[in-house]
């Protein structure tokens, strides 16, 4: 009888052990994470976390979005300009499309190659910068001129017209070229020159913007030095402003600001990539407020940086200002135009 009980107990024990082993195996399989659902187990120090830096104090935001975004319907937009009538010009891969400020398409100029930048002169001519040369179109969209190529290294990223002068920023050769309206080269601005105390442009990425300011000087972004430099038309450097800082007053990362525009009061609107921020500075270069921060510009409700390289590389938004001081931000990821107006009393 004892022998039978002993056998029965052994069988029971073996059964329990097998049962436990099966349970452990099932749990192990269930808990096994082969598709990365549970994260990778790396500590906080391995996470690229700049969420704190993307937050902007609401008290510093002095503009508000005043109209629905204009959907351009274009792919790969690069540049924006606003003329004296308030018409909006958007340059994209194979076309310049013209909109009213209500978003109605007024016209389109087809291009043979991608346009990188554009500006509209006071007489209504459209100057379009391609990779290595400039073309001029009249108000009807007819091509009037095509200037000589600046060579294979050229990469034109900005263009500004003032009276008889046209200034072109060439990021590839790190220089600003001064032309007359007929396309004759009058001079080069910004080449490193220790005798003239010209530091030279540092342009790590293809963002290199310029504007002619209301004081008659050229303002050229030196992105690698995180500042804006003022030059005479003859190429003498007068002064600069801008500090390298992650704080809202400064420009952060390797190369910012990426684009700039002049306000009717002589101040400036700047646009940064990485931490996508559009900010306002006064005519002396003092920080004056924020037009929009990352949470408003990048993705609604999300303070984050780009994920995919394609999104990162398209993240250099452009900016333009109309005669009323409204700020037009070209979102080069969503290919639309956001319109911001200054909040009264701020």
């Amino acid at each position: 009888m004892d022998q039978i009980t002993g056998k029965a107990n052994t069988r029971l024990l073996v059964g329990i052990l097998i049962g436990l082993a099966v349970m452990v195996a099932v749990m192990a399989v269930v808990r096994l994470d082969v598709i990365g659902r549970k994260g990778n187990g790396l500590g906080k120090g391995f996470k690229y976390d700049i969420e704190e830096l993307t937050r902007v104090d609401p008290a510093l935001i002095v503009y508000e979005e005043s109209a629905d975004a204009i959907e351009t319907g274009l792919a790969a937009t690069h540049g924006i300009a606003v003329d004296s009538k308030g018409f909006i010009y958007v340059a994209a891969d194979r076309a310049v499309r013209i909109f009213s400020d209500r978003g109605v398409i007024l016209g389109e100029i087809e291009l043979a190659e991608p346009a990188g930048c554009l500006t509209v002169s006071t007489d209504g001519n459209l100057f379009v910068g391609f990779k290595d040369h400039v073309e001029i179109y009249d108000a009807q969209g007819q091509r009037q001129a095509s200037w000589d190529s600046l060579g294979t290294n050229a990469l034109l990223t900005s263009i500004a017209a003032q009276g008889d002068d046209v200034f072109v920023a060439d990021a590839g050769n790190r220089v600003v070229i001064r032309y007359d309206v007929s396309g004759n080269v009058l001079g080069h601005i910004g080449k490193k020159d220790s005798f003239r105390n010209v530091p030279g442009f540092v342009i790590p990425s293809p963002y290199f913007d310029l504007v002619v300011s209301r004081d008659g000087l050229l303002r050229v972004v030196n992105p690698g030095r995180r500042r804006v430099e003022a030059y005479t038309f003859e190429g003498d450097i007068e002064f600069w402003w801008g500090v390298s800082s992650v704080d809202i007053e400064g420009f952060c990362g390797c190369c910012n600001p990426v684009n700039i525009a002049v306000l009717p009061d002589g101040g400036y609107v700047t646009c940064e990539k990485g931490l996508v921020r559009v900010k306002v500075y006064d005519s002396e270069g003092q920080f004056a407020g924020v037009v929009a921060g990352p949470s408003q510009l990048v993705r609604e409700g999300e303070c984050r940086v780009c994920d995919l390289p394609e999104e990162c590389q398209a993240g250099g938004f452009d900016v333009a200002v109309d005669a009323a001081g409204r700020v037009f931000v070209l979102d080069t990821i969503r290919n639309n135009v956001r319109i911001f107006t200054k909040i009264e009393g701020r």
Partner: protein
């Protein structure tokens, strides 16, 4: 009789020729198959244009030290003084040091070239493939830093553990004779 055996008649000649031709043909077929097989050998690689720098590469590899490493394409690099892949975004001074550097393992070396340019080099013995620098470089810089499977380490598992854990489908099979998917100069 012995002489008769050595005589090559037409039948023998045809038979031996047929055998010879068959052997040569088989050899050619085997050679071609071997060549074709070699050409279509596939290995794992990361498509840098699909990679979201999720950090899974650092820990999902079956190897104790991941076969995925950060690589630097110098033709794209801006040689920035403030490299967003090297420095913490809020770094107070642009000097090496754990308090300023982004890489948790100190795997990037910064070397002065000329004012204001610096060269950044990956020390693969320290890199664990966490992609923290990749994220910074892509968001603020030119994206010259990105991840690649290093084939001197990769075991080329049939079912790659990292590929299974990759949330963006960036892991691909590529021909063994073109083992890397590098970004082109046009990227910058």
């Amino acid at each position: 009789m012995g002489e008769d055996n050595k005589t090559i008649n037409r039948r023998c000649f045809l038979r031996d020729s047929l055998w010879g031709a068959s052997l040569v043909g088989l050899g050619m077929v085997a050679g071609a198959a071997a060549r074709k097989h070699k050409k279509t050998d596939l290995i794992w690689q990361i498509d840098p244009y699909l990679c979201t720098s999720c950090t899974n590469c650092a820990t999902y590899c079956v190897l104790e030290e991941s076969a995925v490493k950060c690589v630097q394409v110098y033709a794209i690099c801006g040689y920035c003084d403030f490299c967003p892949g090297y420095f913490e975004l809020g770094a107070s001074v642009l000097e090496p040091g754990a308090e300023n550097e982004l890489c948790p393992t100190g795997a990037i070396t910064r070397t002065f070239v000329e004012e204001p340019y610096y060269e950044y080099t990956i020390d693969e013995s320290l890199c664990i493939g966490c992609a923290k620098c990749v994220k910074g470089c892509a968001a603020f810089g030119n994206g010259s830093l990105f991840l690649q499977v290093r084939h001197d380490r990769c075991l080329n598992c049939n079912e790659c553990a990292i590929a299974m854990a990759c949330p963006s489908g960036a892991f691909k099979r590529v021909p063994a004779d073109q083992p890397y998917l590098l970004k082109g100069e046009s990227h910058a």
